[in-house]
Symmetry: C2
Subunit: 399 residues, 2 copies
């Protein structure tokens, strides 16, 4: 039989990252391609204890295994809202916070709530592939705005706001951006909010890595500067507790959240309730900030290891970012020529990286960069992988 | 600030069921309005044991808390596919089975994959509100096809297939339908498949209650009769293990599943992995069929209690179905007049039922029925609620 698909979906390709993951079944391949948190960062002992307690009290267990409300487990919503307020000055009287099935669901449902087919969404260039594909699946017209060292290029952003019709929102990861690791300066953030205000465009601020700072000074989120309800803020427990449990959240103007809740109800009714309760108990009884301190120390060490190895093996044969947090380093060819030959040569030498093309708005575009991850590989793999990268770059400069 | 929403979402109302649930915070209200499985049906002891084991093995726990693949945890997918094959003769060489975040996600993503705005989806009348709203959120044009005692009205179905343009699929719950409790006969199922084949229309067969038969003989699913890849089949563990864990599945032609996987990736990346592993272990190590037998016995007793009480208190003042399984009885006014006054009078007497309007394709339609649930209320509440219903109906026939 032949099947006819909806137009929005017919052209969607499986994510390039996903295809790379599938090729990683070869255990001799070193992967710098992951987007995963380090497995040693999961607080297994504490989760085991809390899980035991939930299952040991019949009435609590029955609640955890029964249907829940779409907005999320109320104590968890309150704990998240309080944490956002106290740590990040996020959330006004007119905002509401709901639990989502990972940060990804918040991105998808916000776009479904706001975007008609053909409407424009502005994205950083390069940007997170999962968000780009979610927006594509809504039929959005993606327009990329280049990044520089201090965040999005403000002239390019203004130009995009000025020249595009029906811009519904600007999607940004200001802190430890995926894939570049770049953190927008406070000045850039202020200017982004001002520009979007001037052009009446919403901001979707995605902050899955914000708590993973291991160097430099905290910079306020854009949402914390928002006085009029222009910013939708997404976060997640994926990088600080567990990614497999799929718990994220959205803090946004109540009117928008209400529409997202209606969509969430028809999408998955609610997020796994047992893990919402686990999460709430963890926040109440354990020291999440202390736990995050340990993850920061781990990534500080891993990132330094990778940068040191890159400095030794690659050096001036490439350009790479020096992130102050998060999971990623972005590496570019020094002459800004296409990076695809480098990526292919690495894979031949059994090093997997994510090609920059995956992060472009234009699915036929060409990139001069690729993404490196330091949270997943072992110390030895970091050394060995950087060596391969060094060889590939030096063969290239020789060839 | 004023917000502008996408057209598809702007007109979506929060589900009527959900609003009723919120009104149920009054503990003196007896609820026949639930759609929940009985809390005593959750196998807490077994899940506790398996959960303990996962958390006690570091490498297993790390896997359970890490990102997984979008299609679902491979052992669980295989166990579901094998069970569908062995127990229900479902699944051909060209089909694929994936795990979804509850059956609801499968309905939503199938519709997103297949339906362009304005395309028609045929639905039973009345039908499951969660499905109707999911289809609405995709911009589908809903056309209702009435049910009779043996399932969907075949003449009406043929007429709908003949007269509507761009019909993308027929959505049906042939077994213990929600909200009516009606089970389509084998003849009706065959005829549905033949009609949809003749008019080149897909079938979305939703079977969340199929394992809850407590009377009568098993009837083959429509999917089991499908030879050409016309039927998409959704199922769920919500009514046989736990609804709060949000694990369902889709078995459908590979080409369609591949598109659904792309959508699932941008929607929630994957379903809670810990509970996928728990589910797989349960299926491997415990006797799910034996567990389901106990749930059937429970609902057999509960349903008989409610029917007996209705027979005593309501009798011929109303028309109600006598289901052979599932969770619901459908009750109608004897003269097929609007049921809204009955529903309102019940709520005044502190009995909550779900008004039939919630289950219509036409959001401004009028219903002669309402839904009763027997899995959640206690034996005493069933007796007391039926008494209230009897009084309301007899006041009506007196008035």
């Amino acid at each position: 039989m032949e099947y006819r698909f909806s137009e929005k979906v017919a052209n969607l390709k499986p994510s390039a990252i996903r295809e790379i993951f599938k090729s990683l079944t070869d255990p001799t391949v070193i992967s710098f391609a992951a987007g995963n948190p380090a497995p040693e960062s999961f607080p297994i002992e504490q989760l085991k204890l809390l899980s035991d307690e939930i299952f040991s009290d019949q009435s609590v267990a029955r609640r955890a295994l029964q249907y829940g409300i779409t907005e999320g487990y109320t104590p968890l919503r309150e704990l998240i809202a309080r944490r956002l307020k106290e740590k990040f000055s996020i959330g006004s009287e007119s905002d509401e916070t709901i639990v989502t099935t990972g940060g990804q669901q918040a991105l998808d449902l916000c776009c479904r709530a706001l975007v008609n087919e053909g409407d424009t969404v502005l994205c950083e260039l390069p940007s997170f592939i999962g968000a780009l594909n979610a927006f594509r699946a809504c039929g959005a017209n993606l327009v990329g705005v280049p990044l520089n060292e201090s965040g999005v290029d403000l002239n390019a952003l203004e130009n995009a706001l000025k020249t595009n019709q029906n811009v519904r929102f600007f999607y940004t990861i200001p802190t430890f951006q995926n894939p570049t690791g770049i953190t927008a300066t406070q000045e850039t953030r202020k200017a982004v909010l001002e520009l979007c205000t001037r052009y009446h465009v919403l901001i979707l601020e995605d902050n899955p890595y914000g708590e993973l700072r291991f160097a430099g000074r905290e910079i306020p989120t854009i949402k914390s500067m928002d006085r009029e309800g222009r910013v939708l803020y997404c976060g997640s427990f994926s990088k600080i507790l567990s990614s497999g449990m799929r718990i994220g959240f959205l803090c946004a103007p109540r009117e928008i959240v209400q529409k997202v809740v209606v969509l969430k109800q028809v999408n998955d009714v609610h997020t796994n309730l047992f893990f919402q309760m686990l999460c709430a108990e963890f926040l109440t009884r354990f020291d999440l900030d202390g736990h995050i301190e340990k993850i920061r120390a781990l990534y500080r060490r891993k990132c330094a290891l990778m940068l040191d190895a890159l400095d030794r093996f690659v050096g001036e044969n490439a350009i790479y970012t020096r992130p102050e947090g998060g999971l990623f380093i972005w590496c570019k060819t020094p002459d800004l020529s296409p990076s695809a030959p480098i990526v292919r040569a690495c894979l031949k030498q059994k090093l997997a990286v994510v090609p920059g093309e995956a992060f472009l708005c234009d699915q036929n575009g060409v990139s001069d960069g690729f993404r490196l991850n330091y949270s997943m590989p072992s110390d030895e793999q970091i050394e060995q992988g950087a060596k391969i990268l060094g060889q590939v770059f030096s063969n290239r400069s020789l060839g």
